[in-house]
Symmetry: C2
Subunit: 574 residues, 2 copies
């Protein structure tokens, strides 16, 4: 900077600047002045026109919609005709295929309907049902839903699963899909079409046609149980909420520097010594429960064992697998995994083998982010090794990641954080690269240009600033890349993940920190945007009203989502 | 701004600026350059020296303290000698006076001790109790606490109550106070001295002497049930948490523009029509329960009925008491209370009379903030009235507030928001003026100079920005005023209140939004600061460790306080 300051270029520019006459200076200042005034006037006008100054509306700031599905279906035709809905007099039939997942789902949704119905009945206490006015579009009771599953059930959801479905709601309704996953999504939509009517004393549903499918295949949430332990109960609740929002991936960043709560059968000492406390672990039974609960709701569980950094807790039981860090030739503590020790790779191979056996998903996240290369560089043995093999520190990181990738099973596909790509590790085309850092558009363009696939997260860090749901509603990764370079293959942006890192989140606040902000991303990823004709307004009044309804719906179903917009209330939310 | 730009002064200055030689310009730029580099270097150095770069400590970021009382007592002498504590073998005796409040408190604390003890017993499952090492300062079981209440019990806590106490912990301990309120504070401190020892398998307590009293008399929290309804359960939990933090005021901003959940016996229509829903109200029994629950914990409940603005919900049942607002001579809706209608004052008189009868506290908050004077000015009848009486709009506001103050009972003391003082309403010296807006130091100086008393809130708005507990820990109102004008009577700053406005807070997040951030203010107000010798560092490592313990303590007692600092964990928190 200072070199440039005495350089010829800058000197010339300043000379030019100083050569401006006083008149020009004044003109520039006047222009700035006018611009500032314009901005001020805009805000003044905007404020007074939007609220009429001093007239305040009593009641909720944004009244909730009635029976609007979140995320917005791809195609939806909603009629004014409506039916009343009483689960006790409603008949669900299943034709073609069926299976446990479907049977359990029907039972689950039936219970949700029953609970809604008893809330409606209770509300008769406060306001008696009114006679329907003349000209009302009431069409009697809804009587039936016919569920048509056209293909055989799969046991586990997977990356390429089919989630599309067709739903026709009428007196007699039908839900069709080629896949159990589409049926699950359709049952959720059917349930979201139900709303309280007639002063909350009845359940209504409008005649509706929906044809629906997701725009992005991978729609996930990262939870981090290494910085704070999360109870099984909250993880299951989170899965419930994911499926309510048609998301399909729980990215379980299960261990980190601070603690190792994953109870390994091969290396029980890792959690016996590395967990915050021996009671704060996930046993094999816990993990199996999470996987099964998620599968039943069409949610994949993708485990992450982050290497070579973020592994400090491993060293309580196995200090020998961590590199020693030095400062002026004095050992100062342990750093990332030791990349030049065969013990490291032996433990890694066995641990990875176990984890791949435990989690049925074909994707496995091996991290690779934020490597403390400084520690490796400070270590005399590692330095010697690098000199001997004529390696830079980045090449050492690459070599480590390559070895870690190579010990994965052949049928396992890897997910890595962006640094692994940035450092030039040769990656197969089915590897997913998760973009999380700044300059994300440039990064995605680079990754796509190299023919790789992207999972996008940068805009969706929940612990970054005090962002609200509408901030998370704005960024669509395909739109951003399209605006930069319309020639790239946007299908290679396979999805995105919201990240709730665990430094400041624990059981007390995990649910309300995630919801409804993650609902905003859920809609971006499911419904997508027409990126060639992006909307002028990303958050409309209707969106605000829809999310009000969706938040109450989540609360009625046990998810303590935060109020999204301002003053308001929910009925039937315990 | 633009007038000045073409003015003589600016012209002259620019002429002088432009007259600088190129050499001078370069020198200025170099200086800036060096300064920026210095800042960058500072951060670089700071970062590497504070964390040693790449060496990461596993486990909690700040390990909790063991048996440290929050808020910090005024005088405390803690010994290394410690005792084990088993509630089943611990004897509490009461000498001198006793009463229901004391009996109930002892039962309450006994249950807390019992729960701690069973958590400790359960932990034997994870880690067996270890033999004490030689040289350990263990002194056997604590056997007894003798509670000496020197004065008769009062029924309700009040502004001038005595909260001081003396606590001596040893094998046989004693707690002494002149007042039941001091005894309550002392029982809380005794309970906070208990901590888990020997791998969480025992309860320990150290020999300690505490002499304690609050620096500020009024230590409160505002909750707002007008923007979102809060369940009775969460209000009671909030009171529990207040008493755990030795706070003594729940400021209940009970109604607002959006809803009127207070069920009035004289005007039942106010809540029948003005609540969000007829089920979302506080019945007389609910209110009585809140007041009784709070009194039993030494917490006053101060109601606020905010007038003349923030009253839009009144107008659903009683539109005639609100002023009509106009835009270009067209009626556009209802605004604040109508200041020129006798109906308004009639309703106000009767409602205030009822509320003063329901709430035993001698203080009553009548608001007076953010009045939409624009609406009054737009109303032709009000304008005519003002013209007739040669009044400005501010004088009309003053007149209204004065009338509202005059209809209060003689033994009621008022609290008002700062606007009432700012607008020149003559206030009695026992009125409390609550400072909430910007430029708070100047405002407090003005109020104190006029001989009035202050309750401070400006720094403690919980919905303002994404502030953490340590941000709330920094501002002491007496210190701020002392630094501006050391001659003022600082005792007239009688206390402060944390404010949780309800726009974005409801049952889902009220507890975690309030705690532990309010604990920071609780300590500022209880312990105070030596404002003549303020500390160099307002948030020490010890403070961070102490609040870690305090948060776990709150969680063990059912208050879902957020993690305060970073990675960590709690034992025994359901």
């Amino acid at each position: 900077m200072c070199e440039a300051c005495s350089g010829a270029v800058l000197k010339k520019r300043f000379a030019r600047l100083l050569a401006l006459t006083k008149t020009w200076w004044c003109i520039i200042l006047i222009v700035i002045c006018v611009l500032v005034m314009a901005v001020l006037l805009y805000f003044l006008f905007f404020q007074s026109s939007s609220s009429d100054g001093y007239v305040i509306k009593p009641g909720p700031l944004y009244p909730p919609t009635e029976g609007y599905v979140w995320p917005q279906p791809q195609y939806e035709n909603k009629q004014l005709d409506y039916f009343t809905f009483n689960p006790a007099q409603f008949n669900v039939t299943v034709t073609n295929h069926t299976c446990d997942i479907l049977k359990n789902a029907l039972e689950r949704y039936y219970n949700i309907w029953k609970k809604m119905h008893s809330t409606a009945k209770e509300n008769n206490k406060w306001a008696k049902r009114k006679k329907r006015p003349k000209g009302d579009t009431y069409q009697g009771d809804a009587t039936q839903l016919s569920v048509v599953l056209e293909g055989e059930c799969e046991e586990y959801p997977h990356f390429d699963m089919d989630e599309s479905y067709d739903l026709k709601v009428n007196k007699k309704s039908s839900l069709e899909s080629a896949s159990i996953w589409g049926i699950l999504r359709g049952l959720e939509s059917f349930t979201q079409l139900l709303y309280f009517g007639n002063y909350y004393t009845e359940i209504h549903i409008n005649a509706t046609k929906i044809s629906d499918y997701p725009d992005y295949k991978h729609r996930g949430l990262l939870i981090d149980t290494g910085r704070h332990y999360l109870s099984l109960d909250n993880i299951l609740k989170t899965i419930d909420a994911l499926s309510m929002n048609k998301m399909n991936v729980l990215h379980w960043h299960i261990v980190d520097d601070q603690s190792f709560p994953y109870q390994s059968t091969r290396f029980p000492d890792l959690s016996d010594k590395g967990a915050f406390h021996p009671s704060l672990v996930y046993t094999p039974a816990d993990v199996a429960q999470v996987i099964g609960y998620a599968a039943a709701r069409g949610v994949r569980v993708v485990p992450e064992i982050d290497v070579p950094s973020h592994t400090r807790s491993w060293g309580i039981a196995y200090p020998q697998v961590l590199a020693k860090c030095y400062k002026k030739n004095t050992e100062i503590g342990l750093g990332p995994l030791n990349p030049i020790s065969s013990t490291t790779y032996k433990l890694l191979r066995e641990l990875f083998e176990e984890v791949q056996g435990v989690f049925p998903d074909s994707y496995f996240h091996i991290g690779g982010d934020e490597v403390s290369l400084g520690c490796w560089e400070s270590n005399p043995n590692i330095k010697k090794y690098m000199n001997k093999h004529h390696m830079t520190i980045t090449q050492l990181h690459s070599k480590f990641m390559l070895k870690a990738l190579n010990i994965l099973r052949n049928d396992t596909r890897a997910i890595v954080w962006q640094e692994v790509f940035d450092n030039g590790v040769p990656l197969s085309n089915d590897t997913l690269i998760q973009v999380w850092n700044y300059n994300w558009v440039r990064e995605m363009v680079k990754i796509l240009s190299a023919g790789h696939r992207v999972v996008f997260s940068s805009s969706w860090y929940l612990d970054y600033k005090n962002f609200h749901w509408n901030d998370y509603f704005k960024d669509d990764p395909r739109l951003m890349v399209y605006q930069k370079d319309p020639t790239l293959d946007l299908d290679k942006i396979v999805g995105g993940e919201v990240c709730l890192w665990g430094e400041t989140a624990d059981d007390t606040d995990v649910i309300m920190k995630v919801w409804p902000r993650t609902s905003a991303v859920a809609e971006r990823l499911w419904t997508g945007l027409d990126y060639m004709n992006p909307p002028k307004e990303f958050v409309t009044t209707m969106d605000r009203r829809r999310i009000e309804e969706h938040v109450c719906r989540m609360r009625r179903r046990g998810i303590a989502a935060q109020p999204p917009n301002g003053p308001g209330f929910c009925i039937g939310a315990a």
